[in-house]
Each structure stands twice: as structure tokens, then as C-alpha cells.
């Protein structure tokens, strides 16, 4: 079934560095969404990028989408310790379902 696959599974960087996470998928999409999950909490929506968009920004977040390569990336610039979390990409499957990947666990070291 359609599901995004994040890469890497885990990422550990120093505070202030940039963090890049990737998501690949297999079929055509209407949009791709990125979510964040702090340990033991629910997911929080970050960005939705539509299939006709190539790039979106929100604060220190930058999301790109390459539909020809069926991939998306999430870039967090100037990382902070508070960015430590798991990040998930999600793809709509049909009209009513949202399917999530396995996530990237990001650790920002002070």
C-alpha cells in the first residue's frame, strides 16, 4: 500500500547544525504532509505540500517535493535542542485515509 518511507531512521546532530530528513513514496500523490512527535505525545502537523508545489517554508522549516523522483525532504535550519523529536511524512491514500511512514528520530545535542 502507499506509504512514505523516511530516511534516515535516526539522526543525531549538534545544536546549530541543519537537519535533513527524506521521504520516498511509490505512487502519485495529491499532497504530502510532515508531522512532528515529541516523545510520548500526539503528532503535530508541520507542513502540507501539494503535488503542484516544489518548495514550502515555515519558519526554520523548508520542505521540498520532487514528484518525478517521488521524494520529499524536510530541512530544519539552525537546529535547537527543542527540535529533538520524531518526524513523519504522511501520504493520503484515497480520499479519507492518511498513511504514515516509520519516522526519523532526530536528536539535537547541546
Amino acid at each position: 500500500s502507499q506509504q512514505g518511507e523516511e530516511d534516515p531512521q535516526a539522526l543525531s546532530i549538534q545544536e546549530g547544525e541543519n537537519a535533513t530528513m527524506n521521504c520516498s513514496y511509490k505512487t502519485s500523490i495529491n499532497n504530502l504532509q510532515w508531522y512532528r512527535q515529541n516523545s510520548g505525545r500526539g503528532l503535530v502537523h508541520l507542513i502540507l505540500i501539494r503535488s503542484n508545489e516544489r518548495e514550502k517554508h515555515s519558519g526554520r522549516l523548508r520542505v521540498t517535493l520532487d514528484t518525478s523522483k517521488k521524494s520529499s525532504s524536510l530541512l530544519i535550519t539552525a537546529s535547537r535542542a527543542a527540535d529533538t523529536a520524531s518526524y513523519f511524512c504522511a501520504i493520503a491514500q484515497g480520499a479519507q485515509k492518511l498513511v504514515f511512514g516509520q519516522g526519523t528520530r532526530l536528536t539535537i545535542n547541546p
Binding site: Y35, G40, L43, A92, G94, Q96, L98, G103
Partner: protein, 117 residues
């Protein structure tokens, strides 16, 4: 503003006992509602979703069931829990009428951590 409530936050239940997890949404009408389960350190597995009262779509054949007795209430149940039912259960909603995952984000509750012993 819209809010979503899940309870309880944590639950420890013996194998074979029943389960009832409740999720309610405030501040919106006719939302689509979702139950996901997350195993430790893993991604989310969609269990059930509902587009209206009494309408339940099941994604995974299993020991669990869902009901939507009211517009903004979604309940996850089991008659007899298994060890494999342990996990983090998340309820989510998306705006009603025109809201759908192919054009809108999901809003999640804070989850229920279920441990079956």
C-alpha cells in the same frame, strides 16, 4: 477553537480484560475521526476511521472495534485484550464537510499508552 480530548492517558490492563478508550472533539462539526496505534519506536498504523455517525471503516482485522455514537465521539473497544494490543493509541480528527486527508492536516490527541500484562 477546536480541541480533541483522549482519555485515559495511561492504562494498564490484564490479558483478557475489556477495553474502552474514548475520544471527543470540540469546536467542529461532522469531523472525520481516526484511531491509530503506534508500537514503541515505530510508525503509526491506521486502525479505524469514521466519516459520520455510525459509519466505521476498519483497516486491520483484529481484536479491536470502534464506534461513533455521536458526531464528535469516537470509541475504541475490545472485549478481551491480548498482549499484542499494547501500544500507544492516538485519536485524530480532520475538518468536516470539505476536510479530507488529501487536502487538510490531521489534528491529534495526546494519546493513550496501553500496557497489557
Amino acid at each position: 477553537s477546536q480541541t480533541i480530548h483522549q482519555w485515559p492517558a495511561t492504562l494498564v490492563q490484564p490479558v483478557g480484560s475489556p477495553l474502552s478508550l474514548e475520544c471527543t472533539v470540540e469546536g467542529t462539526s461532522n469531523p472525520n475521526l481516526y484511531w491509530y496505534r503506534q508500537a514503541a519506536g515505530r510508525g503509526l498504523q491506521l486502525l479505524f476511521y469514521s466519516v459520520g455517525i455510525g459509519q466505521i471503516s476498519s483497516e486491520v482485522p483484529q481484536n479491536l472495534s470502534a464506534s461513533r455514537p455521536q458526531d464528535r465521539q469516537f470509541i475504541l473497544s475490545s472485549k478481551k485484550l491480548l498482549l499484542s494490543d499494547s501500544g500507544f493509541y492516538l485519536c485524530a480528527w480532520i475538518g468536516g464537510f470539505q476536510g479530507a486527508p488529501n487536502n487538510s492536516p490531521l489534528h491529534f490527541g495526546n494519546g493513550t499508552r496501553l500496557t497489557v500484562t
